[in-house]
Symmetry: C2
Subunit: 771 residues, 2 copies
């Protein structure tokens, strides 16, 4: 655990340079706008520890699978997020000396990510050779208002000398993914061009044998230089080498003068423009934003952030670390996915790193959708559903590769384009509960928004595909006289290839039930639409529905009669039942124990039975949830970032306030304090939604019941009060919770009736209530 980030309500602050943690800071201070993003690298050359990272949404490379031992069914490639052209670079020479913070004495240094404004700022004074001191002041952002562009203001002041300063703003495509399977570059150069103070570089992904399209990204830059805030005359020397363009400018700067470089960057991808238009569009875009200028761009950018915060902010009084933590999580979720484009999804590292590749895991459905449902326009969550609908054909192909037939769909464990990329058999082929989460998200969306157009128009096809998969994946056990599901990995990945994982069995049966219910509803509401779907999916109304009902009625669910708890899987009680206290010195077990030992232990990586009780809370008695929580929580090591939030929500529900707070703390500052020693690879974006849920669904008890918003809030002892903003079916609420009362302000023009505990509250448009 690191503790070098200064606590602040709105900012992530590094005071004094921590070179050894630089890759961590770069992750924490990443910028993004849903369309492009980058790590918090320095603009000027830096020879110390650094992971330069620039990413463009939706472009990827199919990297040939590399495994130790091939298993039948493994995918051919892993679609990797691409580390793309570096457009922020500005090399600086003071006289003949290269400015490199790794090679000079740093006198003062602060790096600040202002989350309110989405701006990264750095102020430093450094001492060069012969005691020459300069001040650096850089500021940059990825425009939230103009989402294919970003801008930089980079200022230098010689404090005790005068000399020539050479400035080289550049675009550099000589970049490799650290996680490349065969240590190769994924980019070819297509075009490069320089102008007086411009540069353009078009890169294309390398050929691949998998029929995956080749992506092009056109990166453009324009720069301008001022001295003491005034226009100045300068010469620009163009540089063009392999996958690199730059312009070099030499300026004489006198002691105390401020030299300013403004650099504007644009990334256009062939996913959004015809390849033959990329250059032209890029030039026009660059010209437009350069014309607009840094200050104006910044202003509209900050305005866009202000509108976001208006929808999704959470305030916490009484604990600055907690306040910083929750805003940090909300901020990065907002940077990663804006919901503008239904072809995009929420990468596990967003634009903060390239590890894990792919962009879409079940995290999206299980953790992120509730966040976007409550804090963004309805279309944002809907687009995440549409994303899966558009990949239904691929999900059917994935299932066919594993031997399933007749339209059974298995959504991938990780993907970019719908094709499975993962290659560990116990996960790729067996962690199939992910399919259930995709069905659940349809339910979640429909319940929250009250909008059943998605499930009727598109969702039902997805539900039928998934239900067909469950039907075929489940088999009849003569021995039990029940249906069973063999050979799965549940959410708790510390068990592999188990039989009758309770959670997977449950969500499978639930999917069948829900699909039957939707078919039934549509039958009465719009039988013509149902008929179209039946024809499109070649659905056998009687026989398929009968077989599903038979499964629902005869499924095996492992249960312990003595303890009255659901068993994580068949045979779970054959294990030696210990608690995490028994192995205090040996955690994290994933670093200290061999895999087999982890597997045969009782210890749980992340919520498994409890994930099911969280999802399907309404189908269980609170006492039952409590019994299961008290059985499983003490065995849970929470070695997944996705684990604590579910425990926090359940603990809050069953009145275990200390436990709920303990779990909240574990998620809130996971990356900020680098709990898992892996923040340098990038942030845990998807689990950030879990932090938000811990407050809103946990402490504030947000639910939906019979189409009505439910709140059940309390303030954790450690805080004075907190407030959060959520939207619900067209209304916007600011909910403030203190130790004594709850006040709810309707910030929208739509009135709303909610349940506060068991109390029905009518809240007028723009009105408020206090209880």
């Amino acid at each position: 655990m690191k503790n070098y980030i200064t606590h602040d309500e709105w900012c992530i602050v590094e005071n004094g340079f921590h070179a050894e943690y630089n890759e961590i800071t770069e992750s924490l201070m990443s910028l993004g706008n849903g369309r492009m993003g980058q790590r918090g690298n320095f603009e000027e050359h830096y020879s110390g520890k650094s992971l330069p990272g620039n990413y463009v949404a939706g472009v990827y490379f199919p990297d040939k699978t590399r495994v130790g031992w091939w298993k039948n069914g493994y995918p051919n490639y892993f679609a990797k997020v691409l580390n793309a052209c570096n457009w922020i670079g500005i090399d600086i020479k003071i006289g003949e000396e290269v400015l490199d913070l790794n090679m000079c004495e740093i006198e003062t240094f602060s790096r600040v990510l202002n989350m309110k404004e989405g701006v990264l700022e750095r102020i430093a004074t450094v001492k060069l050779a012969e005691g020459r001191r300069i001040k650096i002041h850089s500021k940059r952002f990825c425009s939230m208002a103009d989402d294919e562009s970003g801008a930089i203001s980079y200022k230098l002041t010689p404090l005790n000398f005068s000399d020539n300063v050479t400035i080289t703003p550049y675009l550099d495509g000589n970049i490799r993914n650290r996680d490349s399977n065969y240590d190769e570059s994924f980019w070819n150069e297509v075009h490069k061009e320089t102008g007086f103070s411009q540069g353009y570089l078009i890169l294309e992904t390398k050929q691949n044998p998998y029929g995956v399209e080749l992506f092009q990204v056109a990166t453009g830059m324009s720069f301008d230089i001022k001295l003491n805030g005034l226009k100045t005359e300068y010469q620009s020397l163009p540089v063009k080498i392999d996958k690199y363009v730059a312009g070099t400018v030499k300026v004489e700067v006198k002691e105390g003068q401020e030299l300013s470089v403004y650099k504007y960057g644009v990334n256009l991808s062939s996913t959004n423009y015809p390849k033959e238009k990329l250059l032209e569009e890029c030039k026009a875009y660059v010209a437009r934003i350069a014309e607009e200028g840094f200050d104006r761009l910044l202003e509209t950018h900050i305005q866009a952030w202000a509108e976001k915060w208006e929808r999704n902010d959470i305030t916490i009084e009484g604990n600055i670390a907690a306040q910083q933590g929750i805003r940090f999580n909300i901020f990065h979720l907002g940077q990663t996915y804006t919901g503008e484009d239904e072809r995009l999804n929420i990468g596990p590292k967003g634009f903060t790193g390239e590890k894990y590749g792919g962009s879409t895991y079940w995290d999206t459905e299980a953790y992120c959708i509730p966040f976007y449902l409550s804090t963004a326009e309805q279309k944002v969550a809907r687009n995440l559903l549409v994303y899966r609908y558009k990949q239904l054909d691929k999900a059917i192909e994935n299932a066919e590769k594993l031997g399933f037939t007749d339209g059974a769909a298995l959504y991938p464990m990780v993907t970019m384009n719908g094709e499975e990329c993962h290659n560990e058999w116990e996960i790729t082929f067996e962690e199939i509960h992910r399919n259930g989460a995709i069905a659940y998200a349809i339910y979640d969306y429909t319940r929250y928004t009250g909008d059943d157009s998605y499930v009727n128009d598109e969702g039902l096809e997805v539900l039928i595909g998934i239900s067909r998969f469950w039907k075929q994946r489940i088999n009849w056990s003569k021995e039990k006289g029940q249906y069973v599901m063999l050979g799965v990995t549940g959410p708790n990945e510390y068990e592999n290839n188990v039989n009758n994982n309770w959670y997977t069995n449950y969500i499978a049966c639930w999917t069948l039930r829900y699909t039957l219910e939707i078919i039934g509803k549509l039958w009465t509401q719009d039988s013509r639409k149902l008929n179209e779907i039946i024809i499109r999916t070649n659905f056998s109304l009687n026989s398929e529905m009968e077989s599903w009902k038979h499964i629902v009625e005869n499924m095996h669910f492992p249960y312990d009669e003595k303890r009255k708890v659901y068993l994580q899987q068949q045979g779970f009680l054959d294990k030696e039942i210990l608690t995490v206290d028994d192995i205090a010195g040996e955690r994290p077990i994933n670093q200290n124990w061999s895999w087999d030992r982890i597997l045969r232990s009782c210890f749980i990586k992340q919520a498994d039975v409890l994930q099911g009780l969280y999802f399907f809370e309404d189908e269980f008695q609170t006492e039952e949830i409590k019994r299961n929580f008290e059985f499983y929580e003490p065995m849970t090591v929470h070695e997944s970032s996705l684990s604590p939030c579910v425990h926090a929500i359940l603990a809050a529900k069953i009145g275990l306030k200390d436990k709920a707070y303990e779990m909240y703390v574990r998620t809130a500052r996971l990356d900020l304090d680098d709990y898992n020693n892996d923040t340098e690879d990038g942030l845990h974006i998807t689990s950030m939604a879990g932090t938000w849920m811990s407050i809103v669904k946990g402490f504030a008890g947000q639910r939906v019941k019979d189409g009505m918003l439910v709140l059940n809030p309390y303030v954790p002892e450690q805080w004075n009060s907190y407030s959060f903003r959520i939207g619900f079916q067209g209304a916007g609420l600011l909910v403030s919770v203190s130790k004594t009362d709850v006040s709810i302000q309707n910030t929208s023009g739509k009135s709303l009736t909610i349940l506060l505990g068991n109390q029905r509250l009518f809240i007028d448009a723009f009105g408020s209530v206090r209880v």
Copy 2:
């Protein structure tokens, strides 16, 4: 299945060149002498499909592990068998034309491996450019009498022209393993040197970060050239390039003259000589064998083979294909392991290929030891046991890496030096039944030889280490009130991470029982020796023995009361129970089904419960064996080369003669007919012992009971008769079985009483009986 090898009793014959199968033929026609070996490559340059392979026993390279996803506990490296210096190469130029059978017209061709003599011979006439025809006649062997050397006679006759012939005998170390993890060469050159008709090349394995010793191999050659069988004057031009030495000789050869090249090769390894002596020793060795000459070397080599066949031949009358098959298997087992060196073991591909790396699997104990026990001097099998004894410390280290303590030993799945090399968690960490086979081999040896000195002097320490492992690996299930063993992979690798694999549970308890029995015996026989072992192993006589007994008495063994069969694992009957006939078009399933589908199916890769019934036959009723056989056999797909032999032996025992023969046929010509389409990678050496067992333990019912040899022979319908030679406790027997009678000839000076069926037979020294 291929069918191009001509059936012959003693020879493997390729008539006409099958270029497309050349790598298969190269595997089939491999030569070896336990110390070195090589694939049946051509001596002269060949540009077609070929896997050049030369191997030297006991040298290896620790190739850094490469996996898709790291699991805690994986070994750092895989010890790879090294493709070593090519010493057989003789490049030929006729005039200016390179002789390359891939580039000229082949008129006649035969390649013959004479298994009686251990000689590979090739006779061909080929047409070069402009209709020039030549005859090639090569013969070579790896001397079984002088096991660090080999010799070649290579003869050329121009049939219709006269021209200069350029001959370049060489040593070439520019060779790579096809299975290298990082596509790198494993060899560095240490020294090279040429003489008038000699060459020497010393190679050393590359540096490694694992502390594994660097091996050196000194390869030397000498050559001589004759014309029409007479000495001739010639000049030799030395060639020295990177990792390559040669001598080039130009000779004028007239039409009809026979040009003979004799080449002698020597491989000395630093495992047997101090590195600083290698060159000197190699030179002396080369000089000695060159002096001896091809004919004399060949003579002693053939004599050594004759002595081997005297011990291990099996004849079959009435089926030439079966005769060829069994001799082929015996021959390659004889080439692979001679038992001269207790540091060596039986590589899965012997000297016929490099795939799978490592040299030692549980195959040695479970399949090969019975063969060597019956067909070689007692020390041969004993050396295989000593090999494991010497690696006990490493086995304890392996177990420690997985969290075991206090002297628990886990022998590796695959190894060279005792360190685990395998890297699939479900096998590496969980296929732990291998440990039991190592204990079983001690019992097997002791029972067969009547020699308890090994178990008392060395074996008991191994047994204690293994028993301690079982003790710690087993846990108490409160739920069952019994001991269980969770998370294992049985011999049937088509199940992973199962609980209570019956076979593993059984062999674990058997190990505990056997260890207790040996301790008990030694207590009464030689308590001082026992005391030494107790001190050496820090053994707690009371508490450890008590805990083992408690396990033996309270272990859980999954069983189906209805069918009265042992269950392969807990929950086996939840599967859909099918037979192989139900999936006729889908086999082999390991090529047609995804891994998860294989895992959740009932289909069995190789004997699992049946492996246990085979090992511990005496502890079960025949009816019980029959019931289990009839349950499991129909589900067994035999997709391991180790599977059919166990089924053959059991089928023979329970009277299913057709099934026994069917299973025998599957093993006997597996490589010869390339059943599995993988003979090109090398032969399945260890499973060859299974073929031998199918006859001797299967059809002939060989067993040991109360220290007495038991036979229970019958002739398969498809044969007229068969005979085999075995040794037993100092006596040597030739057993001939016909449809009407059994005759047993004692070829040794030691009389013996055996059980033929239930009949006690006394066979005098050099006497014989007929029944």
